[in-house]
Symmetry: C2
Subunit: 458 residues, 2 copies
């Protein structure tokens, strides 16, 4: 659809040059970092306050025009595609850090703030925000997709680290989902309902986040394993023993080989785990020793650990460079990253099956995993402009995803549904999708918030 | 209302002596442990399976009869009162432990299982379920009220420890709210929506719970403080330092005096903190030393700690006996326990104001707090049969609750809304209650699930 003149006039008058219908800008706002074709909105408005977001929503609702919230555009599943046209509400100018309450270990921020910006701001407080999805996402976007990252095994995902949200609803009204209390039994958990709702229920305009104490010391470790199963068993045994791993990342043999080629380092070409422990020096030294004992017992080799920050970075070099190393596996192609999460007891079989899928395909690729959570990403190198390759990649993705669902897992550990994974959502959740749809219809009866995401547009 | 004959006949035929209209049984099922008058249902059915729950819901829905789920009847805010009559679905016979997956650190249970039963069952696995609300509640009931307890500061509340729920909806259909993956970005977070919904959206018939490793060692500590503020500051500084307190409980001066009188022990009559640390012996020894340094720095006195289980029990004796000690403050009267939770930066002022409220009242009483979460319970000794006393207690409760809300906190940290705190919910949440009501109407259009709770019955 194209924008009604009355609405365009209204928004242009109110927002001046923060309202635009320029094709380049609209193109840019209709595409994330995934391999979906751009679906540009009809216009973009850069909002600077909750009240402005509310005004935009009211104006669009009055004309029945779709509204798509936009942060940094780093989502992977087509979340920002304007499938029905409409107005994109860009929140990237809302970068205010509203307040920090060190005693409460909380910060209240606007949605356009990134994790790095927040952590830079917090540096002198001794506190930090732990959720790290890798991309330079905004915190609003991370809330909207229920993002997680390498430290989720210890600190949780966005689900666990949001105290309260401010949200603009479909009628333009503004609510706060919860108080600032650390816990509450006061009614339905609206904070968690809007977290992960992918812009389909409302627009997040403010977040109160849970902060954590910067650990006094960090210990890093790395070990190679004779098999994927031995690596996963090490993680399981470690967590069962109550050892509070701050991070535990898995790279498979193919990725380790690529790292060696790319960096000139000489890791063993084997399934490898990268660990991090956070805490007081004595406590984490004792934990590192326990960890080493468990790893060696399960066949771990080349176990190395260090409490020195620089040496730790060196130990983790392979993990830090994994993305570029994978990219280098097939120059000229791009990394397509899939996203499954399964109960840990099924993780090694799912990783092995995915490796076999890659081996049987025409692609180079490998597996990287946040194995503490059972989350793994299968990466294959594709030329997105080649439809045959994209179809083959799609078929692999289908197999891996169906296998994860059959193993009691989920079709997306952290990337979200967007519009590319709607069928998987139905396959995974069954009748529960009906409940989601009833909630959608109750809170957005006109279906204007990010239409076509999570559910097919009517 | 009384039960339609056709429904009574239908249920009696299907459930035999697991269906009852006996007055004593109905009375018993119309009252929790709070000070609300009994509101008996018209009948009680003891369900033994999800399919039976579904059949009961379908039969009641067909006749427009209210449905009230019942676990152990330990709730405090009138949650089980059958305000509109109807059928109470007693789930206490559903005590199956369906499966335990040690590698995934998960257990799937029926809703009638209690925390103690589950932990007894898990003993040999090295795992445990941490949420401990004190009462002998069922896990289904704990999920329904989003319960928490003394270890929530480390292990989280029911919000954080449920992986997935099976729920019977208003039309009798059965859904699962999530896969068994440890995290997911697949659609709306229905697990968290039903957790804390107090039986108003569906009946929880199965829970997959997150388990934790039984800590290798436990260190207990106790310290008295010159002021409430010094005690709270100690907790804040400890948590900011990233010291993973497993429990931290506060008893105020009045409660400590009562403990001394009741037990013959001779604690200092002062604001007192009880700590627990969980982990590897070396790690928690180092943490205990750090904790002591922080506590002494903030004026802590009589600091004692031990890694011995029996000595630990002795150190914690005052906390374990607090309820009985408070009861003994005024023989013949009963303990009325209020429930507020505020940002920790406002905690000491709220506790001091509550102590002043007690001092200015006709009651004896004191304050006990899960201070790591900012949660505190003000206890006063009342004769529930004396309307004047109950009115006075109500007025104190109002003041304390309004103060908590004004401080950015919640009207209930862990007890729930039931029907006694509906006005406070509105005061705390404002327009967000409208969102809750829309969800209620969308998922329970006839308004048959636990009517009159969270919202006034239509």
């Amino acid at each position: 659809m194209s924008l009604p003149d009355s609405l365009a006039h209204h928004l242009a008058t109110r927002f001046g040059d923060r309202f635009s219908r320029a094709a380049v800008l609209c193109e840019q706002h209709g595409k994330g970092e995934g391999f979906y074709p751009p679906a540009p909105p009809d216009a973009v408005v850069f909002a600077q306050s909750t009240e402005e977001v509310s005004a935009i929503v009211k104006a669009c609702a009055a004309e029945g025009v779709p509204i798509i919230p936009f942060g940094a555009g780093t989502s992977l599943e087509g979340h920002v595609a304007a499938l029905k046209g409409g107005v994109c509400v860009d929140l990237s100018l809302m970068t205010g850090i509203v307040s920090v309450a060190p005693e409460d270990m909380q910060a209240t921020v606007e949605p356009g703030v990134t994790r790095k910006q927040l952590n830079a701001y917090l540096r002198d407080t001794g506190l930090f925000f732990p959720v790290d999805p890798g991309a330079e996402s905004t915190l609003g976007g991370m809330a909207a997709t229920r993002a997680s990252g390498t430290s989720t095994v210890r600190y949780g995902s966005m689900r666990d680290n949001i105290v309260a949200l401010e949200v603009v609803l479909a009628d333009g009204s503004i609510i706060r989902t919860a108080s600032r209390a650390a816990k509450s039994s006061a009614g339905y958990d609206l904070t968690r309902l809007f977290t992960g709702s992918e812009g389909t229920l409302g627009i997040i305009t403010r977040l109160t986040l849970k902060l954590h104490g910067i650990p006094e010391a960090v210990t890093s470790a790395v070990a190679a394993f004779p098999s994927v199963a031995a690596a996963v068993e090490t993680v399981t045994a470690t967590l069962q023993a109550g050892l509070p791993l701050a991070r535990v990342e898995f790279l498979d043999e193919a990725v380790m080989e690529a790292v060696n080629r790319f960096t000139g380092l000489s890791y063993r070409a084997a399934p490898t785990l990268f660990f991090e422990l956070h805490g007081a020096p004595m406590a984490i030294q004792s934990q590192a020793e326990d960890l080493e004992a468990i790893a060696l017992d399960l066949g771990g080799q080349d176990f190395r650990w260090t409490a020195d920050a620089e040496e730790g970075n060196a130990l983790w070099a392979a993990r830090h460079k994994a993305f570029y190393a994978i990219s280098s596996m097939h120059p000229g192609r791009q990394v397509l990253s899939m996203d499954s999460c399964v109960p840990r007891s099924r993780l090694s079989e799912c990783i092995l099956a995915a490796e076999a899928d890659i081996a049987a395909s025409s692609f180079r690729g490998g597996v990287v995993g946040h194995v503490g959570d059972g989350n793994f990403h299968v990466a294959v190198l594709v030329d997105p402009s080649d439809p045959e390759q994209m179809a083959e990649a799609e078929a692999i993705n289908d197999r891996i995803t169906r296998r994860a669902i059959a193993a009691g897992g989920t079709c997306t550990g952290e990337h979200g549904i967007g519009y590319g994974r709607i069928d998987f959502l139905a396959e995974e959740m069954g009748g529960a999708v009906g409940v989601m749809l009833k909630i959608k219809q109750a809170l957005d009866p006109q279906g204007l918030f990010n239409p076509g995401k999570l559910f097919r547009a009517p």
